[in-house]
Point group: C2
Chain length 191, copies 2
DNA sequence: CCTACCGATCGGTAGG
DNA sequence: CCTACCGATCGGTAGG
């Protein structure tokens, strides 16, 4: 059996591009149909509706981030090394998973209940665990004794929106990018 | 003459709240009309259309940021002090101008030509000038010798999305917030 | 996978 | 400022 993308996968990827470029609400099912060379009605043979697409993109990405964070948490790395790994991971996702990351970051709020609440919980959980690593570093005296919430969001912001500017600017390779951002972030939080 | 908000100003503010909560595309003129207790058709006595609202919000904010940056540029402050001022200013805007900042940051892409191009130019200009301050610091040997584009966006990201999390979390006063973020950002970029 | 079509809602206008 | 209404477009379904 050859490795082929399912039509559903093709639709999901085309949708991610459109959601990134126009936003979820401004993307019509007819736009999407055109992008995959189908009539709008034919999309429904592969997906149940517009929201299923957004839902799939959001929760798939949430799982990838969750799994990586869990692996890093479980490791015996120091807080500094854990943050380093996490920064690197975010950069990799931003540079390789460019399109779906946008929906994951910016378009999830168009989910409806109960998915919206479920997603928010996942997001909250991720942030709490990330914060836990920062707290450990503070306790050990290697990170600055700053309110962990501020620390968390300042770090997270610097790495969460990389996809937003790297794509157009591209001053260097993803690897160099990861190295330099890690440098900035780590010296920003180290005591 | 008493100081009163014009109806237009009231509409703009209500729109900013809706755009923040639902996004520009998902906000209908009927939503907006209800928010200001009018019928949808009556909105057009005060504004020419939906896009004029977005345009006004985006360009008003762009001007405020532009003017502040220009004043800081013209000062005799050191690069470090200039960045400090800029960080503080972004935090003030994020905490005081909470709603319109969201449209300014996230919804501008729904502008249509020629406004879209005009806005992008203003944004680009702001970033180039901000980068100029960073470059000056690098030349003086006080900032890290890292690609200025990476430096710029990492700094800008940490302060551009404060409104997004501060509102819900609120771990401290805007003033403390500015102090701590300035600390993180500055030690992140200093050599 | 298509043609044909649904009711709902969109931004906006006419006319008073 | 309203009522009444426009054509366009929306997400989605029926039926083959």
């Amino acid at each position: 059996m050859p490795v082929e993308k399912t039509k559903k996968q093709i639709i999901l990827e085309a949708a991610a591009v459109l959601f990134r470029d126009k936003g979820y609400s401004a993307t019509s099912m007819r736009d999407l149909a055109e992008a995959v060379q189908l009539k709008a009605s034919s999309l429904y043979n592969h997906i149940s509706g517009k929201e299923e697409i957004l839902k799939t993109i959001c929760f798939q990405n949430a799982k990838v981030f969750h799994d990586e964070l869990e692996a890093i948490e479980a490791s015996t790395l120091s807080p500094t090394e854990k943050i380093e790994q996490l920064v690197r991971f975010h950069i990799v996702m931003a540079t390789e998973e460019v399109t779906s990351i946008t929906s994951f970051n910016d378009e999830w709020r168009h989910l409806t209940e109960p998915d919206l609440s479920r997603f928010k919980e996942l997001r909250k959980d991720y942030e709490q665990r990330f914060k836990g690593i920062l707290k450990a570093g503070i306790t050990e005296g290697i990170f600055k004794n700053i309110d962990p919430t501020i620390l968390l969001h300042t770090v997270l912001s610097s790495i969460r929106w990389v996809y937003d500017w790297y794509r157009t600017g591209r001053p260097c390779t993803p690897d160099e990018l990861a190295k330099e951002i890690t440098d900035i972030v780590l010296s920003g939080i180290k005591r």
